[in-house]
Structures are given as C-alpha cells and as structure tokens.
Symmetry: D3
C-alpha cells in the first residue's frame, strides 16, 4: 500500500497520471491531502479538493481519498502503508522531493518514497500555474482530469 500525499490544489492531469501509472505497483493507493503544511492558505477549500479527487479516482477501486493533519509518516503508519508515492517533473522538483523523502526516512526508516517521472506531455502542469490562470479568469479545463472539467466551463 502507498500513500500519495499532496495539497492537490487542484488535482491536475499530472496527478491523475501518476496514480494511474502506479496502480500496477501497489495493491492500494491512498491519495491524501495533507493539511496546514507550512500554514499557507489553500486556494480551493479542503472539501472542494476532496470532492474533485473523489470524482477523478472514482473509477479505480484500488484508490481511496483521505485527508490528514500532522506528519505524513504518522499518517502512513495509521494507514499501514510502507510506501509514499511521488511524481517528479523536473530537476527543480528533484531537490525539494529529495529533502522531503530523506527527512521522512529519518522520521520513520521503514517508510520508503517511490518516484515516477512525469510523462513528457504532463511535466509542465503545475497546480500553482493552474491557480494563477484561474485567479486571472482564464480557462483551466485543459490542465485538469476529464472527470472534473465540467466544474470549470470555458469562458
């Protein structure tokens, strides 16, 4: 079992692809919104982010959607998950993800982080840019999974 933690603010085509590609690797994947990390306010409220994740991953019985507070490693323990799943898009991601993964391994040496590299056409999709476009009134459906595009109709 793996936990795929993130803020998913909002979930993108990139996140969906990472989960779909990881399905053959894990019997179960918990997509989990970690709250209050760095105390930055989210753009979409927690309930909306959870609802979007549930719509996106509804077709996959192996996948469940949760949220948690506190340490990711503690949440993994509670779930009984030995693996954390993360996507890598770029060498800039790498440095950040490396530090988080190694800190998690220090906190709980039995938990291992497993990485998939984003597919070529998706490595540029970034929740932060999606939020900027939305904030400026732009259309974001092209960056989102099919299942939730209806929520963001074109202008």
């Amino acid at each position: 079992m793996a936990v795929y933690p993130g803020t998913f603010d909002p979930v993108t085509l990139g996140h969906e692809a990472i989960v779909r590609r990881a399905l053959p690797l894990f019997d179960r994947i918990v997509v989990a919104i970690g709250q209050n990390i760095r105390k930055v306010d989210s753009y979409f409220p927690l309930e909306e982010r959870l609802a979007m994740l549930r719509e996106v991953f509804a077709p996959y019985p192996q996948v469940s959607v949760k949220h948690y507070t506190g340490l990711t490693t503690d949440f993994c323990r509670q779930c009984g998950a030995r693996f954390i799943l993360r996507g890598l898009r770029s060498s800039a991601d790498f440095g950040y993800e490396r530090n988080i993964a190694q800190a998690n391994n220090t906190l709980d040496p039995e938990i291992e982080t497993v990485f998939l590299i984003s597919s070529p056409g998706l490595s540029n999709i970034n929740s932060s840019i999606v939020r900027d476009i939305h904030r400026n009134g732009g259309p974001i459906a092209a960056f989102l999974p099919q299942a939730i595009r209806y929520r963001f109709p074109a202008r």
Copy 2:
C-alpha cells in the same frame, strides 16, 4: 511584435539588456507590468515602476510601456502580439519559465515565447535581491539602468 511581461519591481540592468538585444528581432516591444500575479504586494508602487520603465526605454521608439491585469496571453491578443519575450539567467529560471511558457502556449497556441539568455555580467542581477538591499538601506544604483540611477543616490 512582442510583449515583455514582468513585475519590474524594480527594472534592472538585466531587463534593459534583454529589451535592447531583442530590438533587431521585433518591430515593436511592449514592456508590460502584469498586476496582481499571485496576489503578492509589490515593493515599489505600480506608478513608480511604470515611471522607471518609461525613463529607461525613452530612447527606444520601438518600445512602449504598459500595464495589464488578467492573463498575459489575453493581453498579447489585445496588443496584437504573437510573441512573448523573456530572459533566462540560470537553470533555476529555466524550470519556472518553461512551465509558464508551456501554459501560455496551451492557453493560446498561436502565442510563442522567445528567450534570450542573460549576458555574462548580468545573469546574477535579480529584482528580489535589489529589493532586499534597498530594504536594508543599501545602495542599489549599480544594479539599475543608468537612466534611473539618480533616483537612488549613494549613501
């Protein structure tokens, strides 16, 4: 025609050089302050940033200075510009600029972003560091275009 978007908070020697080097490439360049991107407050007020840009680019009849709200691609459409101009200073810049350029291309596939790499002596100049120096009472003239240095007299 190209739009050169940024916050220009403040305009530096680096920005001036990018515009000057791009002049042979475009019949007209619109240097444009994008407002409210990521909702972060600017350090210098919009009016002061516009005034500085106008002084810096006054010698270049091909260059105009504007500001906009909303999406950069929408502003390009309004201007009739097919190109966005950006400078690249470092490999850290690269990751960020790539994501923005590709998102803009998704929003409007007819708009292309064109990059120049900063000249060797200017690649370290960064508006954020200039602001930090100014905030701490330090002299910033050495980082700014000649035309606006009088605004920031030495201590």
Copy 3:
C-alpha cells in the same frame, strides 16, 4: 535570417518542431550541420543526415539545409544571418547552451542566439538516445519526423 546549427545525427521530431515554431519569427532559416565539432565521429554519415533534413524541411520554402566547417559565427556571417536559433529541452541543456551562446557573442557581438523551449511532449527526445536505440536494433521511427520514418521500418 537565422541559422539553426546542430549535428542532426539524426534529425528528430524535436528539431522539426523548433524550426516550424520559429518560422513566424524569421524570414528565412538555414538548418546547418556543423562538421567535426569536437572531432567526434558522427553515427549517420553527413550525406545521409543532409538528405534526411532535406526531406523533413522540403515543405517549407523558407527553410534551406546546408553544412559547414569552422566556426558557427563565421558561417552566420557568410549567410548574412544575425541570429542563431536553438531549442532548450531541459535545465541540463541550459548550462551548455548558455556557454556556447555567450562564446559566440564574444566571437561576434552582432550575432544573437534566440531560444525556444521544447514542447512538453518532445522535451525528452534526444538524438543520442535515438542513436543508442538504433545501435541496439530498436525501432526509432516514433522519435523521427513523419517524412523520414519510412527509412526506419519497424522490426
């Protein structure tokens, strides 16, 4: 006018896209194979590389295909080109391209290098990997422009 220099060993979908996207920027683009750079033997012979480039760019009357020895900046002078065109795929490319562009600018300060960033789905395509696959008997058509795929039939 711009020169797009490279070894094109072989030309890929990535190279084709850079030229096509740069067409609105330049009245004419010379795709030019630079020979003997670093004295490394090429994998495909010069004649075959030229023939492939000519097939790929035949539909574009603005594009011509040439080869040269000596400095790229000297070749630009001979062509009457003020611009060098290059694609950037990754932050690793950035460091290398920056050094070359700045050296060319030192050799001839009137020549400017203009960069486009590879499209999302093409940033992973790399002539060196294509050669490795071909050397190991693998199918390379998926990485190549449509016009030359017939040269490399599937296994």
Copy 4:
C-alpha cells in the same frame, strides 16, 4: 518483478543500497549488466563485474544477476518484468534518467521505470569516480559493498 539495469563498473555501496531498499517493492529483482551501451569500453571486464554483483547480492534470494545485449525493454520482456528500477542521486542524474525512462516507455508503453532517491550518505558515490581513483592507484574499498572489499586491499 523489476530489472535494475546498469554497467556496474564497478558495483558500489550506492547500487547495493538501491536494491536492498527496493526489495519490499518487488517480488524479484534482476540486476542486469547492459553491454556495449554507447560502445564505450568498460574498465572492469564483464566477467569480473558479474562476479562482483553475484558476491554482493548472494545473501538476497530475491535477487538474480544477469547480463544482456540489445534494448533494455527487450530484456525486460524476456524476463517478464514490467518495471525498471533506477536510483537517482542528483538533479544532474534526473535529466539523463528522465530521457531514458521516457524513451523506454515509448519503446514499450507497458514498462514503467520506478525511482528511489539515493540515501544521504551515498549520493556522492559514482562508479566513474571510483574508476578514476583505482586507475590512479588509490584505495576504493570505502566506496564498495562489504562483500567485495577484500578484492581491493588497502595500499
């Protein structure tokens, strides 16, 4: 089942740790020397590299050691492996590994590459540096798995 391909010239503490950490993820791991990739001569002969790998991984019944010629994806097919395992040490590794992983995914879309990031104390260990030290008569045991250190006695 996963294939862990490499040149292992020689196998280091870093390689050993990647395999050990991946054991909970895969029922079986095939550590496989790919031959003649890029036609560069190896430093240690194939037989010696295989012998070292076999000594290092002898304690792990899940792990087997093989060698292959041709494409890594073809070798995976022959083994019946759907996963390729690779370690990531640095952001420089990232760019290279991304291109290889995506090319392999193009060659065989059912094969997925899974990455672990090197442990903090091992991210600097690099077969190429180990070879340089050995070539210059230096001691390399500190960089190698315990099981093969006896082969390289201190000076």
Copy 5:
C-alpha cells in the same frame, strides 16, 4: 576572520558541520543571525535562536555568535571580516547563493564569499523541513546538534 550569516531557524547538524570544517581556514568565525531579511517572521524567536547557537558553538573559542540588522556586507565591515562563509547543499542552493555572493561582491568588492559543500550525510538537512516537522508535532532532535537535542525531547 569570516562571518557565517544565516537565519539559523533553527541551527542544524548541517550548520554545525560547516563551521567545524571551516575552523582550519579562519582564525575566527562569527556566526551571525541576520534579522528581518525579506521581512518574513522567524519560527523560533531571535533570543532562542541565539541561545541555541551559543550552546552549539560553546566548545569552540574561535567562534562567536552575534546578530545584526541591515546589510551583511556592512556587518562584515563592522566586524573587520573580509570573508563570508556559506555552505552549499545542492544545485538548487547554488543558484541562490551565487546571486547573493555576487551582489555582496558588488556592494563591497573587498568581501569574498567562501563555500564549503555539505558532507554527504548532511546535504538533505534543511531548517525549513525541520520547522515543518516541529510544527506538525514531530521529533526534530535527529536533525540538530547534540548540544541542543535536550531542548526537543522525543515524543
């Protein structure tokens, strides 16, 4: 004499190692908390950060602990220090540190920044991650110098 500036919020094993390794290079090292840089609130109050630094570096008579406001280069002048000491953990650090070092050199050309690269086992330790763990109620002692671990007892 060198100044080792930072926010030390909190001091980590990584900071301690940089100072210890730099001792043979400088007759005296001033570990100095720069206040209000970028006006971001600190996590641990100044007095607590100073107290932790004093405990960590008490065994080293060459090392003193200070704090300052204003420019780092002005503080160096006041101390009579010609060198700034900084650690480099990753290529992401590199870009940021390069810009700061070159800006400081522009502000005061007699001041040189000297870098040590973090030791392999410490390159992943990062005050920002330590703060995140603490904020989420996790144990941080493993990331801190021995002398101050008693302040953060295990859960």
Copy 6:
C-alpha cells in the same frame, strides 16, 4: 596552503580570477596540472600548459605551478596542503565538483575543498569551448589571461 588542481587546457581568464581572489585566503597556492585523469588526451601539450600557467602567475610570488600524476589527495599530502581550491561556475559544475570533493574527503578526511563562485562576467568561460574555437581556427585571446594572449594572435 592550497592546491588548485586542473587540466588547464588552456588556462583561462576564469582560472586566473579564481587564484587571484583566493590569494587573501591562503599563504601559498600551488596551481597543479593533474595528468592522465580519465586517460583523455590533452589538447595543448603538458609543457605548453605549464609554460602558460607560469607566465600567467609570474606576478604572484605566493603562487607556484606544478604537475602531478596519481591522486590529487596524495599530491596535497606531498605538498603539505590541507586545502583544495576550486571554482564553481554553474549548477552543472556543482554536481560534478561535489562528487569529487566528497570522494577526496573520503580518501583523506583531513583535506577540505574550498570553493569560490566565478565572477559574473567569467562564469561562461570554459576551456572546452576555448579548445573548440581554436580547433576551428577561431580567435581565443579574449578568453585568456592578458599575459598569454600574445601566443594566440588575431586572425
């Protein structure tokens, strides 16, 4: 005392600046050509590289020029040097230099590598590009220290 090792094939303005900036840090600097590293042939013969280094550093009585075979750490021991001096130009350099520095520290834990970051105008100068220009008949004087430019007269 510090050893500044390299191939210096040829010495550039970048190397000269690193040594000059490091003079206040060390009582003596040994600029040392390491031979046969990676068994790659040099472009300029050893005698010519030594002669160029001696001309460049003749004005500095603290600086001596040597060459060595074998491990850099062994050469440092022979010289009685506890420090290795290296310049960092870019984040690409960082990864390579980190691995070498950490391997040297493993080989001899008393030897520390100290880094200076290249000055803004010199970070793009690279012996490999200088060689490429020379090989193609181009002028290289602009990249070289004043003292040896007479050796490479303009075309």
